[in-house]
Amino acid sequence: MKSHTILLNINGEKRSVIVRSGDTLLYVIREKLGLTGAKPGCLNGDCGACTVNVEGWPMKSCLMLAVEANGKKVITIEGLENTPIQQAFVENFAFQCGYCTPGFIMNCHSLIERHPDAENPLIKEWLESNICRCTGYAEIEKAVKSVLRKNQSRE
């Protein structure tokens, strides 16, 4: 099993890590870097619980090899601090068990940054890639729209 040393720019820190060719980014950030916010839910891209942000785009970290992330800028849920979307999730009760929450928040966060003017169809297109089994989505919808609205009224 061949291994490589890669350099990740993760949550603003440069981290050098030894990985196997076949290690996914999810495996490496959890097992090698101890960042367990991103969750394994299906390991084939169906559920979105492992979503992180790579170079400004949401990425299901189970679908990316760690070696592909070499030199790239990766942000995990641990890299967000007091963002409006996190606050909105808390205020709107947009989680219950919390397992899908880091992935949802990373996806929402990227959406808000990329498309501050997002309307319903675009929001749906982005967020339907994640599964939340607890809430029924009404609260998540409220949370993400509350942040988008705030941004839009500011512009």
């Binding site: 839910g41 390991l43 169906d46 219950q96 929001i123 607890c134 989505y137």
Partner: protein, 772 residues
């Protein structure tokens, strides 16, 4: 003196001479092995040979568990080998377990294990299992160890048979002026919690067994492992941190046993078993399926006179919790209606399907689909408004349940009020069918449900409260935080009772069975009720102790004291008092003398007056109270291709008392979303070999963002007098009526009678074609 004076060997001695004693700097290097499973590719097959030669050649392999007979496991009947022995009984069953240094090595080795099978005839439905000459899933059913209230029938596939005999059926049919009869069926499906199940186990040199598990029932895991393997119960310590969704699926004990066996095979080293999504769906227990037959008789005014029901539950290959599910379905078999004459046979059937765990609602969404669809058929036949029919027959105080419990104003909610609110919220009186254009119609459907929680009559719940020196309180309860927010509710109850700031209450989220008082299992919407009662008792204990010490310090009788806002003070003169922080660790007089000590509150609750059921008639008190609810859905249906879109879904539930509004709404909406997906598209598809064809989240599809309807949720508050502040359970009820309400709406929309789940366009098309 027998022990005092003796040189008892130190409790940590073994750790210290084996190098296993851990000091502060030792904690960041905890080695953990990984276990991967080999699972059965068939529904029913004899295991001819297992060849592990190639697997052993992989570096890092430490143990392979296969082909060995371990003690049988199972809650109600000991019928399940933890690792298949001799034959496999379902697709996904664990056949071998490989323990290796890393997950990759374990998986590579597992893939190299060669298992030779000889196919056996498959039992692919509970109806087939019930046939006289059906192949047997368990040849030795008569020889298994079992609990007293399980009634397996040897040489059949019947794991248990529950009977309800109430009133006189002949009289019922004689009084009935009209009768409807129908059959229903749906296959097993899954909980699909986002966190797949996971367990680790480690066996220390001193014999302590440390398990960490994603479970709703760590205390049951401890009890069962002690019992299965003859271990000392006090040496088993089960930890459960936050759980990533459960819905009943994590109430079964399974991976804990595998992790324990794996650790034992490698000299006690810590081993982790972590389900892949596919294993989580088929290897671990799933959501039960059902074949049912129901007959309802009523007079021309719509009054129900008799019900005859046969449930054949698809318990799958092993009976585990399916026995209790079979009983729960029988207990409330009529739905929330006053039915004087009831005959119900509820059978738990063995099949070659994945076995069943509890599923949110515990048989009640399933029985509601059957009963509520038939009620709509009855309404149709009587040419009566279906909501009116339900209102007329709604269960009320003074009525008796199928197991003959007499209801009163406390132990049953107000169903008629729920129905009235659904009528308003759904704008029912504007009509249930509206043509939008020649292709599209908007249609409404309704349903009702009720539920009591048939948990063990002696199930306990305990709470411990300890103070910090600043007067804040630590709260310990064995309730697992599975997403329901129950521990926050407990903090709210405590803050209310002690009239203190809720931020000064520190809730221990993790449970461990050694230091947390037991809460039987976090199931059955019983967390708030039982732990809430224990909490209130613990709060009384704290108040008593605070007043006790304050009475000495303030030189005032206990009766004159009040505890509130962080102080104990005189009722008639609040200026005379003392801060709790100055007495919660004892009180120190100016000269240094001290009295009292750290205040520790304790509370305990056990359900009262529950009984076992009579095996011949079912008579008995199976649960403490009945929560009732009414539901509606509105859909937009395309008459050309039978597709539909859910516009609105409505639930009105009598929860006694709302303790945390947003949390309660979240529980109901979340449950509705699960119910809608169960009704609309979630099912396992089996082939003729009993294989599940869709064990992935791309082929088995829970609701996604934007597919949800608009939720209309309201609460009715009829207090349950013995519940904390009058509250009833609310975790499951949003789900229970959804399949029936959707089935009723679609049946009206497509002008067919739908009797199966999931309600996909293809089913509607097939049903219509069959009608031609």
């Amino acid at each position: 003196m027998e022990v005092i004076g003796k040189s008892v060997i130190r409790k940590e001695a073994l750790d210290k001479v084996t190098g296993r004693a851990r000091y502060t700097h030792d904690y960041h290097t905890v080695p953990m092995l990984s276990a991967k499973m080999v699972i059965s590719p068939y529904g029913h097959a004899k295991i001819v040979k297992i060849d592990t030669t190639e697997a052993w050649k992989i570096d890092g392999v430490r143990a392979i568990l296969a082909g060995k007979e371990y003690p049988l496991t199972g809650e109600a009947i000991r019928d399940r080998p933890p690792i298949a022995f001799d034959k496999v009984r379902y697709h996904g069953e664990t056949v071998a377990l490989v323990v290796a240094d890393t997950p990759v090595q374990a998986k590579m080795a597992a893939d190299l294990i060669k298992v030779q099978y000889e196919l056996l005839p498959v039992v692919n439905s509970p109806s087939q299992a019930f046939e006289k000459r059906a192949p047997l899933v368990h040849e030795n059913l008569g020889k298994y160890k079992k609990e007293e209230d399980s009634h397996p029938v040897p040489d059949t596939n019947i794991a248990t048979h529950i009977k309800i005999r109430k009133g006189n059926l002949d009289r019922g049919w004689a009084e009935a002026e009209t009768v409807v009869e129908a059959n229903y069926s749906f296959s097993p499906s899954d909980h699909a919690a986002m966190e797949t199940r996971c367990a680790t186990a480690e066996i220390l040199p001193d014999g302590n067994i440390i398990i960490t598990t994603s479970s709703q029932a760590p205390f049951m895991a401890k009890r069962l492992i002690a019992d299965y393997f003859d271990e000392d119960m006090g040496k088993i310590i089960v930890h459960t941190p936050l759980v990533g969704g459960a819905y009943g699926g994590k109430a079964a004990v399974q991976l804990e046993v595998l992790a324990y066996l794996a650790s034992k095979a490698v000299g006690g080293k810590k081993v982790e078993v972590f389900n892949t999504r596919e294993e989580d769906m088929i290897t671990s227990p799933c959501h039960i399926g059902l074949d049912a037959k129901v007959k309802i008789g009523a007079d021309y005014s719509g009054k129900i006179k008799a019900m005859e029901i046969r449930f054949l539950w698809d318990g799958g290959a092993y009976s585990d919790k399916a026995i209790d599910l079979t009983r729960a379905g029988a207990v409330d078999c009529t739905g929330p209606y006053n039915v004087p004459n009831v005959w119900c046979d509820s059978y738990c059937m063995y099949t070659n399907h994945p076995y069943a765990a509890p599923f949110r609602g515990f048989s009640h969404s399933e029985l509601s689909f059957v009963i509520e669809r038939t009620l709509d058929l009855l309404a149709q036949k009587l040419k009566m408004d279906p909501l009116e029919l339900r209102y007329l027959n709604a269960i009320k105080p003074g009525n008796t349940t199928p197991t003959r419990v007499r209801l009163n104003k406390s132990n049953v909610g107000n169903l008629q009020k729920c129905i009235e609110r659904v009528r308003d919220l759904m704008k029912w009186d504007e009509g249930s069918l509206k043509e939008i254009n020649e292709r599209t119609v908007r249609v409404k459907g309704v349903s009702c449900s009720w539920k009591t929680s048939t948990i063990d009559p002696n199930a306990p719940s305990g709470v411990i409260l300890t103070f910090n020196r600043d007067g804040s309180i630590n709260l310990f309860s064995g309730v697992i935080e599975i997403g329901t927010g129950t521990k926050t509710i407990l903090a709210q109850l405590l803050a209310e009772r002690l009239k203190m700031d809720v931020d000064k209450i520190h809730v221990r989220m993790e449970v461990d069975t050694q230091t947390t008082p037991e809460h039987w299992k976090t199931v059955a919407s019983r967390g708030t009720f039982m732990a809430g009662r224990a909490l209130l008792e613990a709060a009384e204990d704290v108040i008593r102790q605070l007043k006790d010490i304050a009475s000495t310090v303030l030189r005032a009788p206990i009766e004159d004291l009040v505890v509130a806002k962080g102080r104990v003070y005189l009722r008639d003169d609040p200026t005379i008092g003392i801060d709790i922080k100055d007495i919660c660790y004892g009180y120190q007089y100016p000269n240094g003398n001290s009295i009292g000590g750290q205040i520790i509150g304790r509370g305990s609750y056990i359900l009262r007056h529950l009984t076992h059921m009579d095996p011949e008639t079912g008579a008995g008190k199976p649960g403490p109270e009945w929560t009732v609810a009414a539901y509606g859905v509105e859909i937009e249906f395309d008459k050309r291709d039978f597709t539909y879109r859910l516009l609105k879904a409505c639930t009105v539930v009598d929860i006694g008392r709302v303790l945390n509004e947003k949390a309660a709404l979240g529980q109901v909406m979340g449950a509705m979303s699960m119910g809608i997906a169960f009704a609309g598209r979630e099912t396992f598809y089996f082939d003729e070999l009993g294989r599940v064809l869709n064990p992935q989240l791309r082929t088995y599809r829970p609701l996604r963002y934007g597919e949800n309807p608009e939720y209309l949720v309201e609460f009715v508050e009829t207090p349950q007098l013995d519940g904390p502040y009058g509250a009833r359970g609310v975790g499951e009820h949003g789900l229970m009526g959804m399949p029936a309400a959707l089935g009723n709406a679609l049946s009206i929309a497509a002008n067919v009678s739908l009797h199966h789940l999931p309600l996909i366009p293809e089913l509607i098309w097939k049903t219509k074609e069959a009608q031609k």
